[in-house]
Symmetry: C3
Subunit: 276 residues, 3 copies
């Protein structure tokens, strides 16, 4: 794993354009600031491409997509590609509705993404829609376990090969892969799924890390995944200090931990292995 | 009151589709998770009905309604009715603008709701617009007090009769009623009105409780109202541990309390009586 | 400085209509409640003017503007002017895209604002677009420092003269000026820029303070700027109680501090001088 990935973010304060859902947008903005980046949100077609052009990266999240914002996603994505910017896709709910699946597929067809960050179900929806390996649906269950880990790594690498993007597949075990190499990451804990937005926040952090470390996309994305999981662990330890604490404090503590995170803490806490 | 209402939520993790305002949407998602449910937000007409169909319940909140989302509310509501899903209406600001009053009335005309959750002014706006009892405006003041409690209970029961929905009328004293039976609930405290979203959050919790206990809508809605008020009480006690605490910590503590709530805590803390 | 400005807010609970961005809208609502006001959010053209008419003030923030909400801003702004309401403009990102700059300029042309609250870059964008003093861009750097303070004060007074609005220019040093008189304010600290929304929240507080003290707009706006900065200081002191605290706790502590703020605390903590 590359060194100083976090320091690079804190020193360059990468500006990230987010077209994202209104459920978790505040958390995304705050964790982007906490990790050392700088967020801009803008989703009108009248300015989406222009705002992207002043940024270093673009984070597209389809969590509460609508006809108006889909157009903006496409405009911003194409401009970001022209400018060689880092682009992240978070296909929230792909597979849950035709609109989401179709939009995610369309985005993949019209925009090149540096990283795609999703859970297994969402990534499977992207894959199967491409129509080449129906079997993926049948063969790969929706949870990454020790038993199916090799199979999942293989799927992530294939999806990376198809899309040209680094794949960050998050779940009980996270996999971050390009076509050549894959990391399995065991940071984090199940309580993180009891607050909304940990996935969306992670996608924002992935964007910031990748902009600041654009020559090392795979490592930057993996470091962001580790960082988010590790913040979940640090926050859980703190949470247990009082029995009155619950999930809302947990959210606060996760973002707090991100704002205090350093390369040293990351290195000491990372539970990562190469699987390839 | 039925037993194990909360346990039923935690065991079944009901998926609730929310078409809600962007002011408090994050709090609604987080309290839905905290109470044991699972939230999905989707407000585009292109997917509203489809998303509803994979859920167990629908929570419509008109807090920041617009032409686009009103259409989605109607589409999702009708589909939810076809599927026999639990439906909750939170008519935020009905009475404050013609658009809100008209939209709430239209929703009531075109969609059958399982529960309507609002304050007295909002519920009066629903009622008077129906044109049958102009007197309601004059006779019923906007606060539920010990003095007008019987009258308010009567109004809630009448509104329930008209709409076919369980009425959850919240204020200093809360009333939860169907056409036959009414509960008066004295949990909660005035500080809850100093944070935004306690009403919206409650509507989300009502939806989750009702989905998980769909054979006991009245009791489920009443339990949700008690739960929210009780969390307000637990949070207030915690708030007083430090003079530096204020309203933002209060919001955190309320959601924390909800994530720790059990049937035992509920039963011990409920201040509820049957009024009918 | 006028006395009892905060007490006036807490006693009258001014209702403020906000047409604002969805990134920080929840924080704006909560800090409006914390400072003693009462928020309403409504951005549909079908109700924007009507909602404004039941309020005491209007806070327009272009942070995530779009074609639909721009129309609502204009409708609400004009109605607010007809009714003599306090109007606040927060030109978020003016200068960052043509849409934002043009919209801010158009709002200034069609609506009279009581107060404009922005950073130096945003206010410069408003000014230079007017085309009279290109030099402002060249002469005035984007940070207010002790060195350029007099020049910045002069710029604020000129912009106030042009627009008829009190100018609240916030940065390392804040300047609040009308055409005659200016305050320089040194409350606050750099960590405030590491959470999203301190500017948006301040604009909400400015609106509430100005509605409750409408005969003293300059002092009310200055008091709001002091209040926000002072809450940032109080929150920072609290933040240092634990090394685990970070930026998300900081946000909570700022709003907590606002909910506990009194005229006495304000008077004791204000770092303000007249510069004119």
């Amino acid at each position: 794993m590359e060194k100083n990935l976090i320091q690079n973010v804190r020193e360059t304060m990468p500006l990230v354009h987010n077209i994202t859902n209104y459920v978790t947008v505040n958390d995304v903005a705050n964790i982007l600031l906490a990790c050392g980046g700088s967020p801009i949100m803008a989703d009108d077609a009248g300015e989406a491409a222009e705002i992207t052009s002043i940024c270093g990266g673009l984070n597209i999240n389809i969590g509460t997509l609508n006809a108006r914002t889909i157009e903006s996603m496409l405009l911003a994505g194409k401009r970001a590609n022209e400018l060689g910017h880092v682009t992240v896709l978070d296909p929230v709910g792909a597979g849950a509705s035709k609109l989401r699946t179709d939009t995610a597929i369309r985005l993949l067809e019209e925009v090149r993404f540096s990283v795609i960050r999703g859970n297994v179900s969402e990534l499977k929806a992207l894959w199967s829609k491409e129509g080449t390996t129906k079997g993926v649906d049948a063969d790969i269950a929706d949870r990454v376990t020790e038993e199916n880990l090799d199979e999942m790594v293989q799927f992530a690498k294939l999806l990376s090969g198809k899309t040209g993007a680094v794949i960050a597949m998050t779940g009980a075990i996270d996999i971050v892969a390009d076509g050549e190499k894959a990391y399995a990451i065991r940071n984090g804990n199940p309580l993180m799924s009891k607050i909304t937005g940990t996935g969306c926040m992670l996608s924002g952090v992935v964007a910031a890390y990748c902009v600041a470390n654009s020559n090392h996309l795979l490592d930057a994305a993996a470091a962001a995944v580790v960082a988010m999981g590790l913040c979940g662990e640090i926050a859980l330890k703190r949470l247990k200090e009082s029995k009155l604490n619950g999930t809302s404090s947990y959210r606060t503590y996760i973002i707090d931990a991100m704002s205090n995170l350093t390369d040293e803490i990351l290195e000491e806490g990372m539970k990562i292995e190469v699987r390839s």
